[in-house]
């Protein structure tokens, strides 16, 4: 350097001791020797390791997102509708059967393939058990004339009860049941009929008599039993088991105990010759609230808070003219505890994946039953509905947080939430599929942000 004064300047400034209030070692120590795992920072942090870490984070996010997608797909059919007849996809009705309402039997065809599925077996067994109840109840109703009663009961028992036994064990169970119900043994013997057309015709006759019985008595207990049996057996279209759903069809049978059972009867009877559909909607669990976050390290954090959650679901079933629907809405206040792993930590944006649990307390709820009978609408609340007071759930979700400053931010966590069941609850949302998509969003305050 040619300038002498610059040499002097260098020598003079080189000894200068700038004074800063900060103790820089504290933050350096925190980086070199993080306390959470008592391990120093990795000695060699290869780009490959970073790539693997990043890829793992992305994979976790994708897993959660795809998991959500498939859960959603299972929870509500893509079209939003389930063809209830036979609980299968819509069936083309043969022209030879269309004029006399045998589409019911045709729809049931999918269920008559003996031993096809475990679900079918389950339905059959349930139908048999309930069939005993039918016969007993019907005998009480029409027991004065035994022969007449037996004839009516015989006609009222769904065809599904007359199928070939699936297994020897099944057959034994069947016989045991019939022994306990005097006078019905003949009805419950395994049928020798294998011709599908004949079976369908007999089923049609059964249903016609069922209709007469329901129309004649209209007593809640009979309706309930019949409705429940036919629902379970998959005989009445619009009442068979639904592969996926949130609101249970048992609620429909339960509704028969209420004063509007006549409307349900009308719907059931009116749909006997109709092609029916069901629509099940379970609105996603939306949570809003305030989250408090504490950074354990630059990567890990623990969050909690106070959240309002709204759960709602709706089921509609029937034809255009005869249908019913159940709508229920529940409001919860909950406290979550969640552990988060942060893989992007920028001054303005944080990306992370988190998992944890939440407990919610029901604060309000409402269920409404609606019926449409020949174009006329009837609606009434269901006071018997009481949601699960305490709900426990697990959740996993990727999250994004936009930070207004070091401590305050706005965040959203779209993910999956699994609700634990409670046996004594008549909550419909989680009866069949307790896992669902959820969205939690709100403001977040971070106590000790570590950037």
């Amino acid at each position: 350097m040619d300038d002498k004064w610059l040499n002097k300047l260098r020598e003079k400034v080189n000894d200068h001791d700038p004074q800063y209030k900060d103790d820089f070692w504290e933050s350096i120590e925190e980086r070199l020797f993080p306390e959470e795992d008592k391990k120093p920072v990795p000695v060699k942090k290869f780009p490959v390791a970073r790539l693997i870490s990043f890829a793992a984070s992305i994979a976790a996010c994708l897993l959660v997102m795809f998991g959500s997608y498939f859960l959603l797909k299972d929870n509500s059919s893509p079209s939003g509708k389930n063809q209830i007849a036979g609980a299968k996809k819509p069936v083309d009705i043969p022209s030879s059967l269309q004029n006399d309402g045998t589409e019911l039997a045709t729809s049931d065809q999918n269920n008559t393939q003996v031993g096809q599925t475990m679900a079918e077996l389950s339905d059959l067994e349930r139908a048999k058990k309930q069939g005993i109840a039918i016969s007993v109840n019907l005998k009480k109703q029409f027991g004065s004339n035994r022969e007449d009663a037996d004839q009516k009961i015989s006609a009222a028992i769904p065809e599904v009860l007359k199928r070939e036994p699936l297994t020897a064990a099944n057959n034994n169970m069947f016989k045991d049941d019939t022994n306990s119900a005097n006078g019905t043994q003949q009805l419950l013997k395994p049928s020798e009929e294998s011709n599908e057309i004949i079976r369908k015709e007999k089923l049609l006759e059964d249903l016609k008599i069922s209709k007469k019985l329901m129309a004649k008595s209209k007593k809640p207990n009979i309706l309930k039993v019949l409705g429940g049996t036919l629902l379970s057996a998959g005989v009445i279209p619009g009442a068979s088991s639904v592969a996926s759903g949130y609101a249970s069809f048992d609620n429909v049978a339960a509704a028969a105990d209420s004063s509007d059972s006549d409307h349900l009867t009308d719907v059931l009877v009116g749909n006997q010759n109709q092609q029916v559909n069901s629509t099940i909607r379970k609105n996603k669990a939306l949570s809003f609230g305030i989250s408090v976050n504490t950074d354990i390290s630059k990567k890990w954090s623990l969050s909690s808070g106070l959240f309002y959650t709204k759960l709602s679901s709706e089921i509609e079933a029937g034809s255009d003219e005869y249908n019913y629907s159940i709508k229920q809405v529940s409001h919860y206040i909950g406290v979550p505890v969640q552990l988060n792993y942060r893989f992007v930590n920028k001054p303005k944006v944080r990306l992370y994946v988190g998992a944890g649990g939440q407990v919610d307390v029901a604060v309000a709820s409402k269920r409404t039953n609606n019926y449409e009978v020949a174009g006329a609408n009837f609606s009434e609340g269901d006071p018997s509905y009481k949601p699960q007071r305490l709900r426990f759930s697990l959740a996993a979700a990727p999250g994004i947080e936009y930070r207004f400053n070091k401590n305050l931010g706005l965040y959203a966590e779209p993910g999956v939430r699994y609700f634990f069941r409670q046996n004594n609850s008549n909550e419909a949302d989680t009866e069949r599929n307790p896992a669902s998509f959820s969205l939690r969003t709100g403001m977040r305050y971070t106590i000790n942000a570590k950037d």
Binding site: M1, D3, K4, W5, L6, K8, L9, R10, K12, V13, N14, D15, H16, D17, P18, Y20, K21, D22, F24, W25, S27, I28, E29, R31, L32, F33, P40, V41, P42, V43, K44, K45
Partner: protein, 224 residues
């Protein structure tokens, strides 16, 4: 403050050195001139990721490091960021360090910190080739007019350097304090060699003007 106490244990054919880090004793006046064996032993302890050794290492060179950082950035928080990242780099790459005699550790540490400082400036999108207010540049260039700095306190000189525009300041620091040529500076900063020379020239003129102004205006806004 720390001091490395050197316990020398003689064995039959071997000289065994071990350092004990004592917070009570002061660091030598010129830490850059730590005896060779001591610095080498410190490197060995740093390799073991010993927390006390790293703390001693920091305390030993803290003033130098802060002073270096302070020439490139003046804010305490920015210095903190640079030191943090610099030490993480040292911690991760201490295995690659080769001891080559007295001062090699401090030179290695210095290089890392300067790299971090330059990288930090890049993240702030600071344009090294920035323009400067024409008022700042003296009209006439008189190479023979060298300011007298003897009566100017070092803290004032330090502050004057900090006040230079970031581009000028960076080139000036690399040229004056790191003894880099304009070719090396140009390569490091990704600018033209002529640009480096030009910015250094302007920085020098601005600084000379500040020093002259300080003496003429009786300390000016530096308050000393």
């Amino acid at each position: 403050m720390n001091l490395a106490t050197c316990n020398i244990n003689f064995t039959k054919n071997d000289l065994n050195l071990s350092l004990e880090y004592d917070d009570e004793k002061p660091i030598p006046p010129n830490p850059l001139k730590v005896v060779v064996s001591e610095e080498q032993e410190l490197v060995n302890d740093l390799l073991k990721k010993d927390k006390n050794a790293w703390k001693y290492f920091y305390n030993l060179y803290a003033k130098d490091l802060i002073r270096i950082c302070g020439r490139y950035v003046s804010d305490g928080e920015q210095i903190n960021d640079i030191l943090q990242e610099g030490f993480v780099k040292m911690f991760q790459s201490i295995e690659k360090f080769e001891y080559r005699g007295d001062g090699s550790l401090s030179a290695w540490m210095r290089r890392i910190i300067i790299n971090e400082a330059l990288g930090y400036l890049r993240t702030l999108n600071k344009n090294i080739e920035e323009s400067v207010d024409p008022q700042e540049i003296p009209d006439k260039e008189d190479e023979s007019d060298e300011p007298e700095i003897q009566d100017v306190p070092q803290s004032v000189l330090y502050l004057m350097i900090q006040e230079l525009p970031v581009g000028y300041r960076t080139v000036f620091n690399l040229y004056v304090f790191e003894n880099m040529s304009h070719k090396e500076i140009a390569k490091r900063l990704g600018i033209a060699e002529a640009s480096s020379a030009s910015q250094f020239h302007r920085a020098k003129k601005i600084l000379a003007k500040k020093i002259t102004g300080y003496k003429q205006s009786n300390k000016g806004h530096y308050g000393r």
